[in-house]
């Protein structure tokens, strides 16, 4: 029983362990200066010595990331659905979505700051804009890949377009929505961190900014590592949710 449990934990976490060992090996082989890259043990010590600070900062960053992730995914899905209903909307939304997605973000920050000011809303908007694109693409693709037979069946029974959307198209697109949430989860956390870093709003990004300003590499990397850990955690949670959605739908 005991060893079974350990094997289970190991099968899930060896990837993370491997990544940390890789990092340690990198520092040893390359002999990096502490400023460039401290070793994982020093960073873990830095986290341990002030864990309360990191936990509360991580909580703030995660809350913002989850808010933006949910908003972005819902927005993307809504755009995909409106594109499915109207072709002109599809033509307007696809280029706009791509432009927002492929303009380097740093250019947009001054525009956001003018529109929204440097505050929490802006960080959430940044995360929303990072996560709506996968949801838009994958949900559109789920709606587009509907078996023609099921839509024909709906037509034969005289279902309106709205009814077909609610009863046939949306259920078929839900797995894609959850795949997109899993896809965006880790970048949502990192996006929130970068936005905090650029704007100086409280969270892991601000911790990183302050520590780097003081040339305290261990603390800066501690903030970055906590962000990476939070990103991976959110990704794994999203994977769990996706799996349970699939169980329920089968």
């Amino acid at each position: 029983m005991g060893s079974h449990w350990i094997a289970g934990v190991f099968s899930r976490s060896w990837g993370i362990l491997f990544a940390v060992l890789l990092w340690d090996a990198l520092v040893r082989w390359h002999g990096f200066n502490v400023i460039v890259l401290p070793d994982p043990l020093a960073v873990i010590r830095a986290i341990g010595s002030e864990w309360r600070v990191y936990v509360s900062a991580a909580g703030m960053t995660l809350a913002v990331a989850v808010a933006g992730l949910v908003l972005g995914s819902v927005l993307g899905a809504a755009l995909a659905v409106s594109g499915w209903v109207s072709r002109i909307v599809a033509g307007m939304v696809a280029p706009a979505a791509l432009i927002v997605r492929s303009v380097p973000f740093i250019i947009l920050i001054p525009i956001f700051s003018r529109l929204l000011g440097y505050n929490l809303t802006m960080v959430i908007v940044v995360v929303t804009l990072l996560s709506f694109f996968p949801s838009f693409v994958l949900v559109s693709s789920g709606l587009g890949a509907l078996p023609k037979a099921s839509l024909d069946l709906g037509l034969v029974f005289g279902a309106s377009r709205i009814r077909m959307l609610v009863n046939i198209a949306l259920p078929a697109a839900i797995p894609n929505l959850f795949a997109s949430i899993r896809l965006s989860a880790s970048r949502a956390v990192l996006g929130a961190m970068v936005a905090e870093f650029l704007t100086g709003i409280d969270g892991l990004g601000k911790l990183f900014l302050l520590a780097r300003g003081d040339l305290e590499a261990e603390r800066a990397f501690a903030a970055a590592t906590v962000a990476a850990a939070a990103a991976v955690a959110l990704f794994l949670v999203a994977g769990r949710i996706e799996a349970s959605v699939h169980r329920r739908m089968n």
């Binding site: 099968s11 899930r12 976490s13 060896w14 990837g15 993370i16 491997f18 990544a19 990198l26 390359h30 990096f32 460039v36 890259l37 072709r87 002109i88 909307v89 599809a90 033509g91 307007m92 939304v93 696809a94 280029p95 706009a96 791509l98 997605r101 492929s102 303009v103 380097p104 740093i106 250019i107 525009i111 003018r114 529109l115 694109f133 996968p134 693409v137 994958l138 693709s141 587009g144 890949a145 795949a179 899993r182 896809l183 880790s186 970048r187 990192l190 961190m193 970068v194 870093f197 990183f208 903030a223 970055a224 962000a227 990476a228 990103a231 991976v232 794994l236 994977g239 996706e242 699939h246």
Partner: protein, 246 residues
């Protein structure tokens, strides 16, 4: 072709709205109109500079996208054939993707040199969407056909090669569609860390000299790369759905 007309109308409406906002000055100096951005390309010398930078960035992004696709195929196929490794591999893939570039950028430059950093960052940003799209499909898609093939006595490997892989082609193209803009952005970000040329270099130097139309002109070329890749892959995806998911 009939689906093209509404798309063009939609895109035209979008561009008109952009021009109007740019001219009104509502979003301030940092949001120029399209004509202001276009004026940047009027000087032949500037045009030449932008074309050269575009070539560098586009080729970095293309190499990065190909490497990212290979990496994603490798990761998700291994996970599909050896399901025991799957949770760990997934965690490893997400760990690498979760590395914050703002912290580890300097490390990357030391490891790969400023010339290769755009390709490395582009690869790191593009493998993950492909991996997630592919692995979701391999895990949950084509369930009925998979069970049927297994029940009829096909080996695990044959089922994978003849059922699961063909069924995952549309998902792969979906992943590529998401990854293409990510590869461009990754390459541009990589160019900020000291690359000799590229659109990212133009953006960062325009930013430092507050030359906003130049900055947007470079960004417009990034968008153009992404748009071209996206629409080509959308067409490929449409054909793949017709071929593999009929």
């Amino acid at each position: 072709m009939k689906s093209l007309a509404p798309k063009l109308v939609g895109a035209a409406i979008f561009l008109v709205i952009w021009e109007a906002i740019g001219r009104s000055g509502w979003l301030g100096e940092s949001f120029p109109s399209l004509t202001q951005i276009g004026a940047v390309f009027e000087r032949p010398a500037a045009r030449e500079l932008f074309v050269r930078a575009l070539r560098v960035t586009a080729s970095s992004a293309l190499v990065a996208l190909s490497l990212g696709a290979l990496l994603a195929i490798l990761l998700s196929f291994v996970a599909a054939v050896l399901p025991k490794l799957e949770p760990g591999l997934d965690a490893l893939a997400s760990c690498i993707y979760a590395v914050p570039a703002i912290a580890f950028g300097p490390v990357l430059i030391l490891l790969s040199g400023p010339e290769a950093t755009p390709i490395v960052l582009g690869t790191l940003s593009s493998y993950f969407p492909i991996h997630v799209a592919l692995s979701s499909q391999l895990r949950y898609g084509a369930h009925a056909q998979h069970e049927l093939a297994r029940t009829l006595g096909a080996s695990r490997f044959r089922t994978f090669a003849l059922v699961d892989v063909p069924a995952s082609v549309p998902a792969f193209l979906d992943g590529l569609r998401l990854a293409a803009p990510a590869a461009v952005l990754g390459a541009v970000l990589g160019e900020w860390f000291g690359a000799p040329r590229g659109l990212g270099v133009i953006i960062i130097s325009a930013l430092q000299n507050v030359r906003i139309p130049q900055m947007w002109a470079a960004a417009a070329l990034c968008v153009m790369c992404s748009l071209l890749a996206y629409f080509a892959l959308t067409e490929a995806h449409r054909r793949a759905v017709a071929r593999f998911a009929g």
